[in-house]
């Protein structure tokens, strides 16, 4: 079996909790897990030293890691990475990096893995936006990206040593400006809880009722394609579905969304699904763990006040 190399997932300049899930996946694929932390400031790598199952941590130090440039990141990480199976998260940026790294080493990339067989030889990923699954076998090293919220995170009782290695890569694009999102709310692809509205919300202004609940839960607000296509006020960046974003949060709340096959493709792998719809026969209810047959006008105020008292 090959060595495994995990590329730490970063969020807001720190190591994200997803990294612990990647280590679990890597341990399924082979022994001797090396963790690579791309960083400008090597202090952040120390946070990873307690992740169980990691035999060695490489803090890949370079100024190029302050902004994402695919070519430079791939080169700088490739420079310090041993050969073996490389494991990344399947966030948008990490999938891009995974593809680059694989091409750089002339090895294949397998994206969005949601299951690894016990013997570590068969990898399963969703295809057709989750309408089906595909299992593949590898006969060489590869880069494998892993969906978040699927693998049990490795615990934090380890104590691996951090080795700092200076590296670099050629930046091929120039960042002109970072435009921060006006709202503090998370993007649907970044959030652990997503509440989405469909055309059943009646008007785009009514999305404020979803935002109120989102604020209580720390959730992102999403929308169906029908809502995005109907109202200019609802941007495509909010769209969940086959031609929008694919999400798999812990909790997905669908409000006034019938559950077209297009929408289901983007959210069906969510851990828990709540559906609120006035039509008892709406297809979304077949996928909901908890269904509420009611108009949103009836259900959302009750949900909002119940959450307030539960979350104190």
């Amino acid at each position: 079996m090959s060595e495994t190399i995990v590329i730490a997932e970063l969020s807001k300049g720190r190591i994200s909790a997803t990294t612990n899930e990647l280590v679990t996946a890597a341990k399924n694929l082979g022994p001797n897990c090396t963790l690579i932390v791309p960083c400008k400031d090597t202090d952040i790598a120390n946070d990873a030293s307690s992740i169980s199952g990691v035999s060695k941590i490489i803090a890949a130090k370079s100024g190029i890691f302050s902004n994402y440039d695919a070519a430079a990141w791939a080169e700088a990480i490739d420079n310090v990475s041993p050969s073996g199976i490389i494991v990344t998260s399947s966030s948008t940026q990490s999938k891009d990096l995974a593809a680059r790294l694989a091409a750089r080493r002339s090895i294949p990339v397998v994206q969005d893995v949601v299951e690894i067989s016990n013997d570590g030889t068969v990898l399963t990923s969703p295809i057709y936006s989750g309408k089906a699954l595909q299992s593949v076998k590898l006969s060489s090293d590869a880069v494998v990206s892993i969906r978040a919220n699927v693998f049990t995170p490795a615990d934090n009782s380890g104590s691996a040593e951090v080795q700092v290695i200076d590296t670099s890569g050629n930046i091929k694009t120039a960042l002109k400006e970072m435009v921060q999102r006006a709202s503090q709310r998370l993007d649907v692809s970044e959030a652990n809880i997503v509440i989405s509205g469909g055309r059943g919300m009646g008007t785009p202004a009514n999305f404020s009722h979803l935002e109120e609940i989102a604020d209580k839960l720390g959730a992102a607000v999403g929308a169906s394609r029908a809502a995005v296509d109907t109202w200019d006020e609802i941007p495509h960046s909010m769209q969940v579905g086959q031609t929008g974003k694919t999400v798999n949060p812990n909790l997905y709340i669908a409000v006034g969304i019938s559950g077209a096959i297009q929408h289901l493709a983007g959210m069906r792998s969510s851990k828990y699904i709540v559906a609120i719809n006035k039509d008892a026969d709406a297809p979304i209810f077949q996928h909901a763990d908890y269904g509420i047959v009611a108009t949103w006008e009836e259900a959302l105020p009750v949900l909002s006040s119940s959450l307030s008292s539960l979350l104190g």
Partner: protein, 256 residues
């Protein structure tokens, strides 16, 4: 221009756009035995490729050049090429192959075609609607030694190529130097529709078919299957039941 290494001062750009034929996104996927069965599924251009084609055409219109659409697939994929020809693409090429290729094989074939065609820029969709992997754009760029930007939601051509790409917490505005690969999301892009004249012209157009041999793949498909059925959930009547559901989310699901 750049293929000769001489800047003759014009802005004629040699543009390639990658397109792929996939099942219509509204179609139901069926499995026969242990493989996906697409025999009764309507095929169409992958949705994000439409934005790639639109951006490629706008790039050409901004200062002159040619747009060549390239696909890899069997003869049936010609339909997708004719569709983009009708929109205004100049040349259509099909790399003739119906065999499974891993990302490594596919990208090496495309890299060869892009190198020999002397292209300055490659547009593609952010991911194809079948695999959803989004590997081809960045992987191709790496093989060519080019820069790349992915999932772009906006593009401008005045004063050099500038794109908007979502980044953690907001958007990155990035200036792109050619040669480069640009993978496209929907964003604010509105795609054009073909007209009768375009469709008639596309009908007569010749697809440049190039035979290729699929490289040996080091990924093999074991099986396809439907996602496991979810156990039936709990369904309640009336808005007041939202209180019960909130309680279940805490006590049963342990997620809030």
């Amino acid at each position: 221009m750049s293929s000769l290494g001489i800047d003759i001062g014009d802005t004629m750009v040699n543009i390639a756009v990658l397109v792929k034929q996939v099942p219509d996104t509204n179609s139901k996927i069926q499995i026969t035995g242990d493989r996906v069965d697409l025999s009764s599924v309507k095929m169409d251009i992958s949705p994000y490729d439409e934005f790639a084609v639109e951006n490629a055409l706008q790039h050409k219109e901004s200062g002159g050049g040619t747009v060549t659409a390239i696909t890899v697939g069997p003869a049936g994929a010609d339909k997708v090429l004719k569709g983009v020809k009708a929109l205004g693409v100049d040349n259509i090429i099909r790399l003739d192959c119906d065999d499974y290729m891993d990302s490594n094989g596919l990208q090496s074939i495309l890299a060869q075609e892009i190198s020999s065609g002397g292209y300055d820029i490659v547009y593609c969709g952010k991911s194809a609607a079948d695999t959803g992997s989004g590997s081809t754009g960045p992987g191709l760029a790496e093989r060519l030694g080019w820069g790349s930007v992915s999932n772009i939601t906006d593009i401008t051509f005045e004063g050099g190529l500038t794109v908007t790409s979502p980044s953690e917490g907001g958007n990155a505005i990035i200036s792109v130097t050619l040669p480069a690969v640009v993978s496209c999301d929907k964003g604010s892009t509105k795609v054009r529709k073909s007209n009768v004249k375009g469709i008639m012209m596309a009908k007569r157009a010749q697809v440049d078919v190039k035979p290729i041999t699929a490289p040996v793949s080091s990924v093999s498909i074991v099986s396809h299957m439907m996602p496991p059925a979810k156990p039936a959930g709990k369904k309640f009547e009336g808005g007041d039941s939202a209180q019960t559901v909130a309680q279940l989310l805490r006590d049963e699901a342990n997620i809030i």
